[in-house]
Subunit: 335 residues, 2 copies
DNA sequence: ATGAAAGCGCTAACAG
DNA sequence: CTGTTAGCGCTTTCAT
């Protein structure tokens, strides 16, 4: 492959240690002339350190791993972009891997990253529960989960999903909607994938509607919701869809449009996530924004803190920090 | 950190070589009982091989790197997802890194991946030209570029951008549009970023319009196109925008909407790329789809071929393979 | 069937 | 200021 410090040492007629000193500022005294000469030769021969070897001996790679479900949602896109920028600022590189919604894939991605000695990992997990927590602990590496909470004891950064949905629902009710239809994935998916956020949002919704009376409630909790949209819509009462994700809301709107119904006029609808394609959709969907940028920045900061702690030999696993960030209501034209 | 083969050897009272034999099938004769015993102990202690060490000694990591601009477009999202699946099938893992449109970032990502001994790289580059080609060659690692062609001599997988635009333009003209406005980034950007695809598309456009007479042509080649949209639109003749990217088309439509003009009725417009958000925009934009899935699969297959060649000590840099794949016209309502 | 020893390329501790 | 030596954890000859 490329040239090594050994080669450089030979060419320059010095020892490998001297080469090392020339290459690294803090690594001991060296005569400026030798230094310069070595650096020149190194540059001439396009010397590049073998990062595997370095990582092996230092036990540190200045890499952080990120494992996300997929990359199709804008939320992840932005998250990744910010994590990359933030980590880069600290001299770290980011290794992204995908698990495409598969639990085993996620595990092997995490294991592999750990075995490659990444210094820390940020994960948006499909897995959840205590067993998984033990698996993560076993990796013996700082891990921060974002978006989906995994279990108590695993550092987590996200927004208060339940309270956000509480607010959203209250807002809808204030606008005099009399029939509310909650749209989210089936709760049976628990165990199959991490639907933590949707469970929380559902809780928030239920909590709120119970406080009011005279409101008709209905649920679309399965993947056939697209077909059921129209049938569930009562003509008589002022109806709104409360969706646990913008994607669902967009699907509903698409469907309704075919029947000539317009959001904000013929029915109300509110989403969640504030994905960026909403900018191109009319009417503007009212939704909730979970502050991606803040989540990303906080997660990175937290991860670095854990990494530092571990390096200093401190206890870094307990207590597991948990940062709940604010969300923001995005006013649109659909409620 | 974790337990090592040395530890296992000690626990089992055998040599490290024997442990190694137990762990790897093809690594020499070993007594079934010893083997089983070692494997049991290994499992009990959750032994996991240090991948840095292995990579260092084998010079091979079973990792491939992917460097892309970002993951905000559906195109990349899908590309990554398919690359991941395809590579996984071959026992490889994928390392994604982003360059966020920055040339230097891209270079350092590539360098880093190479220095971590990934076995090969797939890149959608912002850089282009012969100098960059030399840089890539210097990495001494199989690289396949997708989407944006970098230079002759660097393996490339993508569609024939020029011919696609030729077809698109012809289609517009057939529909009796008399004035065509081409919208794309300024060509001066060559050197600043990789606008290979846009250059090619522009060529295709020019080629085609020259074949017809009586057609009025005009260009929006700068970043202020948003403001110029209306002024450039002649009232008298049937006018269409030919855009070198869907994003531009969406901007134009947004602008026109404000003046009450509707695409497909008051003017024609065609995009390029078939980005996913088009599904949510009305009227449906007519556009061209480059076959992501095929690009991804072909790129991975090609990369593996190069990797194999290199491992077998064959010449893998010349000749650089180049696969041009078919594109597809997506019929919308705007032409 | 098992073991000893060398080496991948780098860093670190200890001499001189 | 420079060199020697040892070691990270794994794989790979070459002996026994």
């Amino acid at each position: 492959m490329g040239i090594t410090t050994k080669d450089l040492a030979q060419i320059c007629g010095v020892s490998r240690t001297t080469v090392h000193r020339a290459l690294h500022d803090g690594a001991g005294r060296i005569h400026p002339d030798t230094r310069e000469m070595i650096l020149r030769v190194a540059k001439e021969n396009d010397y590049r350190p073998d990062l595997l070897a370095r990582g092996l001996v230092k036990g540190q790679t200045f890499n952080i791993g990120v494992v996300v479900l997929d990359v199709k949602s804008r939320y992840f896109a932005e998250l990744l972009s910010i994590i990359g920028a933030e980590a880069g600022r600290q001299g770290y590189f980011v290794n992204i891997t995908l698990h495409d919604n598969d639990k085993e894939t996620e595990k092997s991605q995490l294991t592999r990253l750990a075995d490659y000695h990444v210094d820390g990992i940020i994960v948006s997990s499909v897995n959840e529960g205590d067993e998984y927590k033990n698996f993560l602990r076993g990796l013996d590496i700082p891990i921060v989960s974002v978006d989906n909470k995994i279990a108590d004891g695993i550092p987590f950064v996200g927004i208060d999903q339940r309270r956000a949905m509480t607010d959203a629902t209250a807002k809808v009710i204030e606008k005099k909607y009399e029939k509310l239809i909650f749209v989210c994935p089936p709760m049976e998916d628990t165990g199959k994938r991490n639907i933590y956020v949707h469970r929380e949002r559902l809780k928030g919704f239920k909590e709120t509607v119970e406080k009011y009376s005279g409101i008709e409630i209905s649920y679309l909790l399965d993947w056939n919701y697209r077909e059921h949209v129209e049938s569930v819509l009562g003509e008589s009462r002022k109806t709104a869809f409360v969706c646990s994700a913008d994607e669902f809301a967009l699907e509903v709107m698409k469907r309704m449009k075919k029947s000539g119904k317009r959001a904000g006029r013929d029915y109300g609808i509110i989403g969640f996530d504030n994905i960026d394609i909403l900018d191109y959709v009319t009417p503007r969907l009212t939704t909730i924004s979970n502050s991606v940028a803040e989540v990303a920045e906080t997660a990175v900061a937290l991860l670095f803190e854990l990494i530092m702690r571990k390096q200093e030999g401190k206890n870094w696993e307990e207590p597991a920090p948990c940062k709940i960030l604010p969300y923001r209501m995005v006013e649109g034209e659909t409620i």
